[in-house]
Symmetry: C2
Subunit: 514 residues, 2 copies
Amino acid sequence: MSDRSIELSSRRGLLMMAAAAGVSLATPRILRAAASGPKFGGDLTAVRAAIEKQQAQALKRLQSWIALPSIAAENRNMKEGAQMMAELLKDAGFQNAKIMPTDGQPGVFATLDAGAKRTVGMYFMYDVKQFEPSEWSSPPTEAAVVERAPFGKVLIGRGATNQKGPEATWLAALHALKAAGRKPPVNIVLVAEGEEEIGSPHFAQVVHQPEVLQALSKCHEVFMPFASQSPQGSVEVFLGAKGMIEVEMVCSTERWGRGSKDDIHSSYKAELDSAVWRLVKALSTLVSEDGNDPAIDGWFEHVKPLTERQKQIIAEKVANSNEADVKKLLGVQHWVRDLSYRDALERLASQPTVNIEGMYAGYTGPGGKTLLPSKAVAKLDFRLVPDQTAEEAKTKLLAHLQKRGYGDIEVKVTGGYNPTQTDENSSLIKASLAVYKSEGLSVSLSPRLAGSWPGYIFTGPPVSLPAGHFGTGHGSRAHAPDEYYVIESSNPAVRGMAEATLSYVKHLYALAAS
Amino acid sequence: MSDRSIELSSRRGLLMMAAAAGVSLATPRILRAAASGPKFGGDLTAVRAAIEKQQAQALKRLQSWIALPSIAAENRNMKEGAQMMAELLKDAGFQNAKIMPTDGQPGVFATLDAGAKRTVGMYFMYDVKQFEPSEWSSPPTEAAVVERAPFGKVLIGRGATNQKGPEATWLAALHALKAAGRKPPVNIVLVAEGEEEIGSPHFAQVVHQPEVLQALSKCHEVFMPFASQSPQGSVEVFLGAKGMIEVEMVCSTERWGRGSKDDIHSSYKAELDSAVWRLVKALSTLVSEDGNDPAIDGWFEHVKPLTERQKQIIAEKVANSNEADVKKLLGVQHWVRDLSYRDALERLASQPTVNIEGMYAGYTGPGGKTLLPSKAVAKLDFRLVPDQTAEEAKTKLLAHLQKRGYGDIEVKVTGGYNPTQTDENSSLIKASLAVYKSEGLSVSLSPRLAGSWPGYIFTGPPVSLPAGHFGTGHGSRAHAPDEYYVIESSNPAVRGMAEATLSYVKHLYALAAS
């Protein structure tokens, strides 16, 4: 995901998360009996046996996939990755899996006709984030399975949890059904892309193909497999996600036509304009004095407040959380403006943000250098909430700068997602929650992920379907070194790969019964 | 100098400078007859012959000195550099040259008693700026002499012009006098330091030693040799220099106690404070809306306006300059606020500045990274004019930030000089101008260098003497790769090393006659 799961970027984060988990370290049996509740799929004894028998093979399939990293930013293994994606789908029972060229990297469009009454839409990504092998404790393309307390046996590799692990687990469910002599309970329409990590710039070109739209028109939802259990076992279900534009703002004397074209000795400052001051002043107009509210003209025009139900969901989450633990995990002493935890979570779900991801200008080495820099750069992300759109955000940002005389500052929009929202009463959410409940899992419902994913391509027109990504299992450190995915869990509340496979089987039956 | 000569930092700058010079490329004779005017030193035939005879040796002496780079920032060759400085002085006729320990790197205190009526104070530095050999076209410690159009034969090396070249040229004047059977016409008190390039933090410890103060009390001025001819041949004489403090401002969530202690995923921005926004907002309060005037509380309290005479000097400079050429050289289309050249030069001489030398925070690589950074850093220099002081500037900056609630932002003052001013009617300036006039050189007088040097240690109490650094000869690219000093000049208006040596001889006689 360019931005889907919210990861702590430091190793310290991982350790604290582990410490906060406080889970049992007892060795688990691979497949425990499900908790009481509705029996999705009826008697799954044969399916369970098939999962257990095929687990080594399923793991090997995932490891082979991780061994071929497709990275759009580096144009690495893209054709090969799309090819492998198509083959993985065919192996799992899809009758058709077609490579779909785009102006960027190819997507894949696949269909599985099970002769079922109901058709389910699926979203996959086959690309992964860049990585630097020297930063890993285990080689990122080797996908070794190692013991890592307190989680148990985890697979370490790029794509382990984002997104190949959960996707391979979901495919294992199809393999198990077949081995158990069952047809999938639903027909499946699957679209996959290879540019998720660069913001899905061409994915709409795949989805909007007439044959794809035609196929998706039979679906009631679009689902993406995700290992969304917390270390404590709670399944996080987000009913939407913020949108985002990512922007690079470049202020240069050359474009401005003022100051010196080149970096020059700083003593000239008295008679020459500075690109750095200009960028600082321009940036300063984008947010409130404390840096916490967007101050861009008209920014809140289409911002919808939280509904009473959304506020209620947050209140429930607060009641089930330990604020001190969360603060410790995040390394935080105060929420903005010393808000209560509830108010902080309401802000997190409801407020658009303007964030400086990074910034640089002039001399950045040790000590000083008496320089008047000719260029300054800031990288920003702007999180959007319903009913803002990425296009609207871009237009308003440009107009805001233009109006204040900063029209020469280059604004490169490097990516954009609209916000996405899915109805709590949709079949997707109801079926998913029912499965988790049947498994005795606690659910952490949230009105909106503060991160972003390309779900809007499905929730927005012309597809206009509920869409979500969640599931059992646990993984973390997406985009970071030592990304992992739990294969065998030490914590009875957290599903390992085989248990998560069974959960996806039930999920298919639950959707079939919707 | 940490900041004395104003250098363009790009190679393009050098080329344009060369192009703007438009000088004759005819091979020069080493020693031309001086222009008509007062005969400082009387018949200098023997001295001239000595200079000519000793030129190879003088050049070799300079090359040996450059081969031993003393760099305080790297604690490199400091003891050896001070030792060599002392030896160079003794070789040139100083009876005493004593290494002076400080809390930092050692200085040197030397005296030459010529039995003369008048005693002249001198300031030397033996350290040089850091360098990266791979960036040089000729190895920086080899000090090779190469042909370089349009200047002629130039020596390329670190310290070539800043400051070993001019200093070695001045020492050559003493050697020539001796070889010609003359005593120096003045007694000399010389103080040298090895920390000029890091802002002279311990030089006052040398100068304020009772024996040094006692020796300097016999002097009427303090002079530093400088190759201050422009490529066109005009000798630049500055009657003062701005002061400066250099500052690193660091805003961190850890020190602030808000936001996350570590870099964290940017989606948390809605509920967490940002160190980058905080620094941007704090910086923004330091300057006017267009970034051109300091806006720090009380900053202008002790700022003195230009005198009528200073304005007149600037007007004369404007009359003798081609604004278009200057703009081209600097890569500039407009002065701040579209000022006239005269107003721009008045600002340059008279106004304090706040400049961002460099800035960095968060992710600065290619593309974006959805990060909420925990730290942001800005490097600034604050130029000061009479009667501001470095100490006052530091105090006012801290108070300004404190008053606005930014007291947690770390402010590391990494260096500081007071402004310095020398009377146009002082013996130093009058004698120097008389020498240049006698040589038929044009002089570019300026009320104040916009850069900074440690002259305030002499012009301020307890020494309180006129001080200046200028001289004939040309060099450039101080602090940059391919720093050079003209040894044999292609331009009759620009002095080569031997001619500059003769000029320093006359300068000694001119000071003796003051």
